[in-house]
């Protein structure tokens, strides 16, 4: 048999626990009503990639494949090609002919962004990346490219 003091302590412990749950009953729940209410992401959140463009619309990516080389999950596949001289796609000599990420493999570590020498690769706040098939989770360059910036008349001196 436990002593009286021990029993009293046990009962006190139960009362303490009950008070905790009772106090929580009147607190605001922490639940986020997700599809209706979106979370506020930290500014440096690593979400889906984006391939940036220069202000003149040319791609920043030069097809160097450093991102694919550094990727610990082997999620990125890049195939570079020579820029066509009459209609350049990027500013360098080469551009990325194929640039795909497999989002089933990607671990969102951001090493690719670190490795990118031209700051072409960025990670955005896009996190809703669910798809119905495995094949659909492989995002191609077309899906990840930043849209061509609208031409500003003030910038008309720039080439392209």
């Amino acid at each position: 048999m436990a002593s009286i003091a021990e029993t009293a302590g046990d009962i006190l412990a139960i009362a303490k626990g009950l008070s905790v749950t009772l106090r929580h009953l009147f607190k605001k729940p922490v639940t986020l009503q997700y599809p209706e209410v979106k979370p506020v992401l930290p500014p440096r959140h690593r979400g889906r990639h984006e391939l940036a463009r220069h202000e003149n619309g040319l791609e920043k990516c030069v097809g160097c494949e450093l991102c694919a080389a550094v990727c610990p999950a082997y999620a990125i596949y890049v195939e570079g090609a020579e820029n066509p001289p009459d209609n350049p796609i990027s500013i360098g000599e080469r551009y990325a002919k194929i640039w795909v990420v497999n989002y089933l493999r990607c671990i969102f570590c951001g090493f690719c962004v670190e490795a990118c020498p031209t700051e072409a690769l960025q990670m955005k706040h896009i996190y809703e990346l669910s798809e119905y098939t495995r094949a659909a989770t492989i995002y191609t360059k077309e899906m990840l490219l930043q849209p061509v910036p609208k031409k500003d008349p003030a910038d008309s001196w720039m080439p392209g």
């Binding site: 048999m1 626990g17 905790v20 749950t21 929580h24 009953l25 607190k27 729940p29 639940t31």
Partner: protein, 327 residues
């Protein structure tokens, strides 16, 4: 004669409807209140504030496949949920929820059957509830079900003793087994919770154990038994077991109200309201305890029942008997 039968039939229909609705909305209340206690919201998708969640749950459960294991005893497996739910519902027949009212020039008691053996009937029927669980566990032919059922029978029989002894003190004070008489005495004097505080504590704890509710939910221990006596049940038969559990919660709350909290006292305006408020409060305590306390270990459960509650109830009985004999 016929009018008595019709009256009883109407009252029975109302009580069954009320108990089953109470079961449905008790599940919603439990999920909501427990959710808030855990800083969550709880179900809120079906209808406004999740009000139709029990309806959705019911439809889901009815349409679920009714699995009977190949080695199970088919007849008993099917019968067990019924054996479990019937005692739960018929206990309420003797519980008075208010003083008699006059309706259509007829005096109607707010109780289906005012029998003078009152609590004896409750104790007898409540003991039957264990059969549903034991038969369900045995008929499933699964070791987890059987273990859950064994635990449950041991637990329910152990706690019935303490519960019976606690009630005996109240019966001694009232000098009657009739629940009406017990309430009447409290209407004019002190509520039994004051002179019988020890008995109240013992009765309520034993009541929680009787209904297999947390922290005494060992028969349903998900972690160790994979659910316990209802492991092999699905669909509507599974929900019948839970119907029995929740209706028993209502029963225990109603009995505590009648025995210790003065029934419908103080009885202003509309007496049944007082009764229902007290029952609702006790049900919230059930939920509150579940949201707070972890499950007891099996030996501790038995020790609490036999070594603490039973001696306390006996002590209380001795003290009450002495006082009653001297006055």
């Amino acid at each position: 004669m016929l009018d008595v039968v019709i009256e009883a039939a109407i009252k029975s229909a109302i009580v069954i409807w009320a108990l089953l609705t109470a079961f449905a909305y008790l599940t919603l209340t439990e999920r909501k209140v427990m959710g808030r206690m855990q800083a969550r919201i709880g179900p809120n998708r079906v209808g406004p504030f999740g009000f139709f969640q029990p309806v959705a749950d019911g439809i889901k459960l009815v349409f679920k496949e009714d699995v009977i294991p190949a080695q199970a005893d088919r007849i008993i497996h099917t019968l067990a949920p019924a054996v479990s739910i019937i005692p739960a519902v018929i206990i309420f027949a003797v519980i008075p929820i208010g003083p008699p009212v006059t309706l259509f020039g007829r005096e109607i008691k707010l109780q289906i059957a005012d029998i003078n053996i009152g609590y004896l009937y409750v104790a007898a029927i409540a003991s039957l509830a264990v059969y549903g669980i034991v038969l369900g566990g045995w008929a499933s032919n699964s070791k987890y079900s059987l273990l859950g059922a064994m635990r449950s029978s041991a637990q329910m029989i152990s706690y019935e003793l303490a519960q019976g002894l606690a009630v005996l003190s109240v019966i001694l004070m009232a000098g009657s087994l009739s629940l009406n008489r017990i309430v009447e005495l409290q209407l004019h004097g002190l509520w039994n919770i004051i002179p019988q505080f020890l008995g109240f504590i013992v009765y309520y704890i034993a009541g929680i154990a009787e209904t297999n509710r947390a922290p005494f939910d060992l028969p349903e221990a998900e972690g160790e038994l994979g659910a316990g006596y209802h492991t092999e049940y699905s669909g509507f038969k599974w929900s019948a077991f839970f119907m029995a559990e929740y209706v028993n919660m209502v029963n225990i709350s109603a009995l505590v109200t009648v025995l210790y909290l003065g029934g419908w006292a103080p009885g202003w305006i509309f007496p049944p309201i007082w009764f229902l408020l007290k029952v609702a409060f006790l049900l919230l305590v059930f939920i509150w305890l579940r949201a707070t306390l972890p499950r007891l270990r099996y030996d501790r459960l038995m020790a609490l029942g036999w070594k603490i509650l039973l001696p306390l109830a006996l002590l209380n009985l001795f003290a009450t008997a002495t006082v009653v004999a001297l006055t």
